[in-house]
């Protein structure tokens, strides 16, 4: 079953690469560099989806104390960090030729960076915990507080930007002017990335289940 999904994901990603580099029309002003948009935007979407799942899984874990929810939350956090890293890497590569700068402390960029820091510390808390119950509880707290804090971070950075009259970049506004083929490519890329995310999440959760099983057996052996 999972192998089948892997096959589908591989095909989707291959088609996605073809669409991005061969089929999608070249943007008039930005040129070929604009094609990174089809990687950047889906990654951002997946990252936020992943952190939403962390939030949901953390609440469910603290409510039910079932290991499967913590497995879901922590696996999703790992993927969220990976995709946020992808966003933070592809962003500057796109920005430099187009805006002439690698980075600006715009509200979206800054919030993404702070979010990345929070979830990296989430993963560090897990690896520095002395047992997996502690890791689950501590990281669930972070998974919930991180999301509660998100609107505050967004507002604070947004006001801070307004106060200091920084460059406000209207990436969102250009989307309305997208060529239909570009839109198709973007939506297809979203689909391909989402299926990749589902596959990786599935893979990681089942790996964690195996880890739990091994841990249980080791404990049983020690008891005898």
């Amino acid at each position: 079953m999972r192998f089948l999904l892997l096959l589908v994901v591989s095909i989707l990603l291959a088609i996605n690469i073809f669409l991005i580099f061969m089929w999608a029309p070249t943007e008039v002003h930005m040129g070929h560099v604009q094609r990174i948009f089809y990687i950047h935007v889906p990654s951002a979407w997946i990252a936020f989806l992943a952190f939403g799942i962390v939030f949901f899984g953390s609440i469910q874990y603290l409510r039910t104390r079932e290991q499967k929810w913590d497995n879901l939350a922590s696996a999703s956090a790992e993927l969220g960090v990976v995709f946020t890293t992808l966003v933070l890497v592809t962003g500057p590569i796109w920005a430099k030729p187009v805006w002439g700068i690698w980075w600006t402390w715009d509200v979206r960029l800054t919030t993404t960076l702070v979010l990345w820091l929070i979830y990296v510390s989430y993963l560090m808390v897990r690896s520095y915990s002395s047992n997996h119950y502690q890791a689950s509880r501590y990281s669930s707290i972070l998974g919930i507080i991180g999301v509660i804090n998100l609107p505050l971070i967004y507002f604070a950075v947004n006001w801070w930007n307004t106060q200091h009259q920084r460059l406000v970049l209207g990436v969102g506004s250009t989307e309305s002017g997208l060529h239909p083929d570009m839109k198709t490519t973007l939506y297809f890329s979203l689909l391909a990335f989402s299926s990749l995310f589902v596959y990786l999440l599935w893979f990681r959760v089942s790996l964690k289940e195996t880890e739990d099983m091994v841990r249980k057996n080791v404990h049983l052996d020690m008891d005898h």
Binding site: M124, V125, Y138, I141, I144, I148, L152, A156, W160
Partner: protein, 225 residues
């Protein structure tokens, strides 16, 4: 009500008395804050004309760094001879323990602030102290103490806790750190800006209120052993 408040004060007073006798936290945190200010002086080459615009940033970084140093030691006394278990076994709610620790942390933060600010005034001929600035400092200390106490209790049980506390603490306090710096800057330079000092203070109050509710709950979850 009395039964709720009393344990909070007993726990806070225990920490404060312990600190009065050992002076473990205050001395190191104060010297550290002073050092931050001195280093900033060399790094930024502060002149009397620019002190008003740089003061909020420098002061709050000094408070935040000294605060995180103090909070790192918040549960050290509890680590000795299993006294944390003793505290947790007390017939009081986890909320009372949290608010007790938070109160002592808040007092330490306020002491740090009230000693560092005069030194800053003297060193840089800084003369823009007002009632509003002190109110912002108290609100900021409250937010720092609330978030700091929670993460201190978490980091205390982790390996390499010295590095984990700042890594957990600083991203989470981003909104309030921006808020206090901007609000202080508004009060000090007294300029009319787009956002307005009042709205920044509103942000700080909202942050404090949210975390005063969330952190005791999270502390209860973290301390289940």
């Amino acid at each position: 009500m009395r039964e709720l408040i009393r344990p909070v004060f007993v726990i806070a007073w225990k920490d404060i008395m312990l600190e009065l006798r050992t002076k473990d936290i205050m001395v190191s945190a104060l010297i550290f804050a002073l050092m931050v200010i001195v280093i900033f002086n060399f790094a930024l080459n502060i002149t009397p004309t620019m002190v008003d615009s740089l003061a909020p940033g420098i002061l709050w970084l000094a408070f935040a760094f000294a605060g995180v140093l103090a909070m790192g030691r918040a549960f050290i006394a509890e680590g000795d001879k299993g006294s944390l278990d003793g505290l947790l076994l007390c017939p009081v709610s986890r909320d009372a323990i949290f608010f007790g620790k938070m109160t002592s942390m808040f007092v330490f933060m306020v002491v740090i602030e009230s000693l560092v600010l005069p030194i800053f005034v003297v060193l840089f001929n800084f003369d823009s102290i007002s009632f509003n600035l002190i109110a912002i400092m108290l609100l900021g200390a409250l937010g720092f103490a609330t978030v700091g106490t929670l993460f201190s209790s978490i980091a205390f049980n982790l390996r390499s806790r010295e590095i984990m506390l700042p890594l957990l603490f600083f991203p989470m306090i981003t909104p309030i750190l921006i808020g206090v710096v901007e609000a202080s800057s508004g009060v000090i330079t007294d300029t009319v800006n787009v956002i307005g000092t009042g709205r920044w203070i509103g942000l700080i109050v909202v942050f404090d209120a949210i975390f005063l509710v969330v952190c005791p709950w999270a502390f209860g979850v973290a301390m289940e052993e």
